[in-house]
Symmetry: C2
Subunit: 286 residues, 2 copies
Amino acid sequence: MIIDGKQAAAELRKQLSVQVDQLQQEKNIIPGLTVILVGEDPASEVYVRNKVRQTRELGMNSNEIRLPADTGEAELLARLEQLNRDSEVHGILVQLPLPAHIDEARILAAIDPQKDVDGFHALNSGRLFNGSGDALVPCTPQGCVILAKRHLGNDLNGKHAVVIGRSNIVGKPVAILLLQENCTVTIAHSRTENLAGLCRQADILVAAVGRPHFVRGDWIKPGATVIDVGINRIADAGGKSRLVGDVDYQAAVEVAGAITPVPGGVGPMTIACLLKNTLAAARRYG
Amino acid sequence: MIIDGKQAAAELRKQLSVQVDQLQQEKNIIPGLTVILVGEDPASEVYVRNKVRQTRELGMNSNEIRLPADTGEAELLARLEQLNRDSEVHGILVQLPLPAHIDEARILAAIDPQKDVDGFHALNSGRLFNGSGDALVPCTPQGCVILAKRHLGNDLNGKHAVVIGRSNIVGKPVAILLLQENCTVTIAHSRTENLAGLCRQADILVAAVGRPHFVRGDWIKPGATVIDVGINRIADAGGKSRLVGDVDYQAAVEVAGAITPVPGGVGPMTIACLLKNTLAAARRYG
């Protein structure tokens, strides 16, 4: 089975759209997301454009702030302070990466945790980690779990999940989410020994490495659910570029019970979960 | 090899004692720890007494606040607020468990994260999780890693660590610490399937289950390092009570490369790491 992330994202957006209407009718609140883009990274511009468009399609307010690449850290902090105080802004997203002269950690720490729809603030990480239930949870990990459940159903009890990658953005938070779903969770990474053998134990394999075709077909247990978080641009034989995941899809699709394609797998879910977080922030704190 | 936690704790305290003297000479700061005990749980009283005594032995200030079991949540919060503002108090520890009428989560969230020497505040959990380096880290997990290194040396690169238990106090934070040491980390728990087989893969096995003799000798890979976090009181054949760990020590000691005994393993390290956190808080924020 191919797990269709576009379809899953469309379904989630449809649910959210109903909930956005409800919130407006019941409490007269329209969720508002502000995205800040510093500089002119072309990939970031595409991401931001998609986020803004999809936010509006859902009936939410969307605001885009574009700042020149030489914007100072102090100015960015002042902008955030303004947005933190603005009651019509429920979600604030600073598009990463930031220019090198800006301290990313300091910026992320300056976003009001209640508006931190990326879920990268330490207070949200801690709430996720402690399972206190009031965290805004990073978007890509949320998407991974939704896609795994699309194939496996809601009960992931006792499944062995192997996560390759230990980033703050994907690897570690998806491990915690899978642990909360009662999976046994193994976190593997570049220092892991016998990675292939470890992956072969996985009922659920999450690849978040950032290396094209890193996970081979014979690393996959027959019938396993494979969630491919990688988005790598490579040149094919004809010299054209295309996007591939961290998993050797052609080989893996023959072995796996279910697998997410790239593109069209985890990617679309990430933005949908951003919209979900924005709605959640507006509901809880709006 | 038996990993001597009493000896390791004594060595750590000796180092800390030198650093306490230095801090006083260089900055005229004496680290101060305040422990709050609500009610009269006999086990808690023993813990608190030990903490207070060891704090003083190190030349730090120690203050004990005892409140009756019927103390209201509001009163406890007011006390914490006072201590948060007191510049001579660098560490605040609320002895758990609290009486049932008090919301533990609310109390832990009310401690200034800079004084949270137990490391249970969500902001400290998040900083640990994100690896930002400024976390106050829970004491027992710190002790586990120090003891593992006592046998294995400082380089834990690529070791497979299996942690049984996923509590906020031990299982999850020790998993994160081992991950930061470049271990491959598996978190197992009550829903894990084939737990014995999983444990047999472990180069480092951390048992934090709270069930006497839960881990059998034949679950242990020959030569593995076993860290036993359990402290369980059981009645022996003669009707007397004694403390045992989560691991069947008699069987495990024959197989393991190194193992912590109970008592005298992880237990003594927990208090020593509390003193370490108090010193760190005084240094950073004093």
